[in-house]
Symmetry: C2
Subunit: 243 residues, 2 copies
Amino acid sequence: MTDRTDRSDRTDRVVPEAERRRRRPTKHGTVLSEQVIVDTALRLVGRHGAQAFTVRRLGLALGADPSAIYRYFHSTDDLLLAVADELIGLALNGWRPTGDWRSDLREVGMRVHARSLAHPQAAVLAAYRTTGRANEIRAVETMLGILRAAGFPDPDAVSLYHAFIDQALGFAVLDSAALALPAQAQHADNGVWDTAYRDLSPDTHPHIAATADLLAADMRRSAYPLALDLLLDALAARLPARS
Amino acid sequence: MTDRTDRSDRTDRVVPEAERRRRRPTKHGTVLSEQVIVDTALRLVGRHGAQAFTVRRLGLALGADPSAIYRYFHSTDDLLLAVADELIGLALNGWRPTGDWRSDLREVGMRVHARSLAHPQAAVLAAYRTTGRANEIRAVETMLGILRAAGFPDPDAVSLYHAFIDQALGFAVLDSAALALPAQAQHADNGVWDTAYRDLSPDTHPHIAATADLLAADMRRSAYPLALDLLLDALAARLPARS
DNA sequence: GATCGAACGTCAATGCTGTTGTCGTAAGGG
DNA sequence: CCCTTACGACAACAGCATTGACGTTCGATC
C-alpha cells in the first residue's frame, strides 16, 4: 500500500527521471521530460485557470497523447505534487538566510505568499499537499534551522514551524482563491463591503456602521502581512532568554 | 455577491421553493425539497467522506434519479452554496459572548474551524467567498463588537478582525482540504513524514534528522489551536492600557 | 555497422463524472 | 371528474482519469 511514494514503488510504467536513456519525440516533435511537463502544466493553469488542469488538455498542450504523461507520473495527483514542489522551489530560489531569525522568517513567509499569488490557480490546488520532494525538504530544513538557531527547544521549534508554515499556506490559499475566482464573482464579492455592509443601520449593527469605511478599505488588501507580524511578535515573546 | 436568485430566474428547470405546489414521491417513496436535499448532502459528506459528494451518489441516497436534483438546484455548485449557507449559521448557533474578549475570540475561532472540518468539501469551496448574507453579517458584527469592547481603536479593531478571521478561514480551508482528499492521497501525504523525512541523513539535513520523531507526530494534528493562541498573545500585547 | 531487447508514444476501451432533452405519470385546481 | 402541467425517470452525451496492448525506434552491444 501507499505505493505512491515515488521511488520505492515499482509501477513498471514509470521510469525514474535519472534512469531515462531514450527520448523519442512525440507526433508533434516535442521531447518529453518531467520538467517540460511540469512547466507546461504551470503555464496551462496560469493561462486557462485551474479547470484546465486535466490530463487531456495537458496532452494537447504538449502535443502528445494524454496517456504519455503516465510514462512520467503515476497519476495526476503525482503530477500535481511535482507542480507544488516546483512552486516551493520558485519561492525560495536565490534566497539565503541572513542569520536574523525574525527577518529571515518574515522573508520566507512573504515569499511563499507572493509566489502563491503569482500562480493562484495552481496554489489553490497544491498548497495543502505534502510532497516529500526535494524543494519541500529543503524548505523544511531551512525553516527548522532558523527556529533552532534562534534558540527554541526542539519540540517548540517543530510545533512553531508547523503553525508558521500553515499560516503562510492558509493565507496563500485564501488570497489565491479570491484571485482565482471568475472576474465577475471576484468583483461581486469585493463589492459587498461597499454595498450590503454600508447600508446597515447603527441601531441594529452599531459596530459595522461605526467602521464601514475602514472595513471597505481594509478588506481589499490581504491581511497576511499583519498576521505574519503578529505571529512573529508572539514567537519573540516565547523565545527563551539566551544564556 | 452572486446570490442564487440571480441565477434562479433564468433557468426554466428550477422552480423557486416558495412556489412549489405538487410534490410527487420518488420511486422509493421519499418526497424531495431543497431542505431534504441539503440535509442529505451534509449527511452523505459527513458519513462517507468528501468524494461521496456526487450527484449520482446523492440521488442514490435520496432514493431518486440524479437528474431530479436539477429540479431544485441549477448545478452542483449551486447546491454547494446552499449547503455552505447552512453551515455559516450552524457555526455560531446557540453561542453568546461572555464578555471576556480573549476567550470569546478563541471560542469563535475554534467553532468556525471545527464546523468547517465537519463538512470539509463544502468548506473548501465556500470559505473564501463573501456572501453579505444575514449569518455572515451577524458574525462580523459580533467579532467587531468583541474587539471594540476590548478597547482596540477602530482602525486596529478592523485590521485585527481581518487578520483574525482570515487566519481562522485559512486554517479551515487548509485542514478541510487535507480531509477532503481521497483517502489514499490523504494517507500518502501523512505517510511522507514517516518515510521520506525519516530517511534523511544528519549530515545533509541536520535539523530534520534531529526532529524527525517530533515532526511526524506534530504534523498529524492541526496547527490552528497553537496559531490561534499565538495570535491572541499578540493581540493582548497590543491592547492599549484601559483608562 | 548490424542486431535485438525494450523504452515509450499511441491507440482503444472502461467506468466514472455532471448535465440535459424527452417522456409519461400523477397531483390537484377547476 | 377532467385537464393541465409539475416533476420524477430514463437515456444519452461529453469529458474525465486510467490502463492494457501494440509497434516504432532508440541505443547498447559485439
